[in-house]
């Protein structure tokens, strides 16, 4: 069958479009399909073998934007520290250094959530970090500290504790206003 649009090449893509409930069906050749739709048959993603190794990078890659945007991103985005490029990462699924997480962070958040089901660490911290976190907390005002605890209580659905904290914060705020 020849392409519905150019009537020259063999049709290879069956394209259905539904706009405002109206359905149009077209048989297109590769060229016309690429031109009239955002469909790129020749993108590396589609030709790539879907081995287990790059399944991961495919998941990650799919969050990087459309195929065309990714083409640009691949030439630009790299890690300054270790020289790892985005396409290199897509191939191996491994990062080159700790800075890569920073360098690629714009593409990372959603994809990490899709692999891990979460995007924020809540587990163990190295001791040195715990000390640092404690220092920061110590510098906070009483109200800030209580607000953090309140948030924590709400997340854990400990509503009685949350109510107690909320009242305490209100009382402190009132005091502050009175003192001022």
């Amino acid at each position: 069958m020849l392409c519905d649009r150019c009537k020259k090449n063999e049709a290879q893509v069956y394209y259905t479009e539904i706009i405002n409930g109206e359905k149009t069906e077209q048989h297109l050749c590769e060229e016309c399909a690429a031109e009239y739709t955002s469909f790129h048959m020749g993108t590396p993603i589609m030709n790539q073998e879907l081995t287990l190794g790059n399944l991961l990078s495919t998941i990650l890659g799919n969050y990087g934007g459309t195929a065309q945007e990714k083409g640009n991103a691949q030439t630009e985005l790299h890690c300054d520290n270790c020289g790892m490029t985005y396409s290199e990462f897509m191939k191996t699924g491994r990062f080159g250094c700790e800075n890569c997480y920073e360098s690629f962070h714009t593409l990372l958040d959603k994809s990490i959530r899709s692999i891990q089901g979460a995007d924020t660490h809540t587990g163990k911290k190295p001791k040195k970090y715990e000390v640092k976190t404690k220092d920061i907390i110590n510098e906070l005002s009483e109200i800030d500290k209580l607000s953090i605890q309140l948030q924590d209580a709400v997340e854990k659905e400990e509503f009685e504790e949350a109510a107690r904290l909320r009242d305490r914060i209100r009382a402190l705020k009132k005091e502050e206003i009175n003192n001022a």
Binding site: L52, T92, R94, I112, D119, G123, P126, K127
Partner: protein, 344 residues
């Protein structure tokens, strides 16, 4: 000090061992794929030194070795005993290992991550394994600055290990579910809960002797304790299913199973040559029979230890030389004949 596979343990009819692994990277070096040879040498040397500190801060003795200078037989034997991973063996760069004398604790150096801290216990005892790995992590984090971010937690070479870097796994003996053809379905079900079921030697490996590994897939967003508790709940379910299936088998085909178990014992006891796959299948039958008390070979006899000892690498390790596979099959048959206890 008893090695883990010699310990008497909880639920050992279904659970062979509990294992915890923590992935850590040093801040000062690039990750594995960007690490050059010189940096790899330095990394192995530097972390290797930490072995000495571990000796003084825990009540265990540790040994350090450069893995890439070991003989192939030594390496394969260690993989078969789950001390090191196949990946560590394949690497051409400098790689190292710190191993406790009882083989319960090991640190692989320059595997996929700079450090892979592993701790194992016999039977169902994963919190004990975690406690040990966590202690080793505490001690090593005093010595090195680990790559860590407030948001993502411990930074790892592959994002699938990000966060806690924790992989908790059980080695499970599931003969009844295997016979019932339930393993593939089970693997799919577990996958929905973020739990992976794999063959005996981890990723993409086959299962020998009806032994499988069950482990968490997600490492980010939950605390270490939550990850382990979630895995435990699932594993308890699997254990219950396996036991129910075993009972079902025994009620419905007691005679056939008893016959199979005794035939397995007979072949193992009198064979003149035997391949490791055959031996594993027969030993699995025997273990099943012993666990279900169809056959009595002494309560403390550990069939799983025998399973590891008759693997190609470990056989040659005991002989201290490489031999052809036919010779190996003969030696294996000899070895089993001598090691197998009498029926009580």
């Amino acid at each position: 000090m008893l090695k883990w596979y010699k310990e008497a343990a909880n639920n050992s009819d279904v659970i062979i061992s509990s294992r915890v692994r923590l992935a850590r990277n040093l801040k000062k070096y690039p990750f594995s794929i960007k690490l050059n040879d010189q940096q790899a040498d330095l990394l192995v040397q530097e972390v290797g030194e930490a072995g000495k500190v571990l000796v003084t801060q825990t009540n265990k003795k540790y040994n350090f070795c450069n893995v890439n200078v070991l003989t192939d037989i030594d390496k394969i034997a260690m993989v078969e005993r789950h001390v090191i991973s196949p990946l560590l063996v394949e690497k051409e760069q400098s790689t190292g290992l710190i191993l406790s004398e009882d083989e319960k604790v090991s640190i692989m150096i320059n595997e996929e991550d700079h450090l892979r801290i592993q701790s194992v216990t016999g039977g169902m005892n994963i919190f004990e394994a975690f406690k040990t790995a966590n202690l080793i992590d505490d001690i090593t984090s005093e010595l090195f600055d680990f790559a860590f971010s407030e948001k993502y937690g411990y930074l790892t070479s592959c994002p699938t290990n990000l966060g806690t870097g924790l992989r908790a796994s059980y080695m499970m003996f599931l003969p009844a579910l295997t016979v019932a053809g339930r393993i593939t379905q089970l693997a799919e079900e577990l996958g929905k809960y973020g739990i992976a079921l794999r063959g005996t030697y981890g990723e993409a490996s086959k299962s020998y002797g009806n032994i499988y590994q069950i482990s968490n897939q997600k490492t980010l967003g939950s605390t270490e304790k939550e990850i382990i508790e979630r895995l435990n709940r699932i594993v308890e379910q699997v254990m219950r299913q396996e036991r129910r299936q075993r009972e079902y088998l025994l009620t419905n085909s007691y005679d056939e199973i008893e016959d199979k178990v005794y035939r397995s014992y007979g072949i193992l006891k009198y064979a003149k040559q035997i391949s490791s796959a055959d031996a594993m299948a027969l030993l699995a039958q025997l273990k099943f029979g012993a666990d279900m008390e169809l056959i009595h070979i002494g309560q403390n006899y550990n069939i799983h230890e025998l399973m590891m000892n008759i693997q190609p690498g470990n056989l040659q390790y005991q002989l201290d030389k490489a031999i052809s596979s036919t010779q190996r099959d003969k030696f294996r048959a000899d070895y089993i004949r001598k090691a197998l206890p009498n029926i009580v």
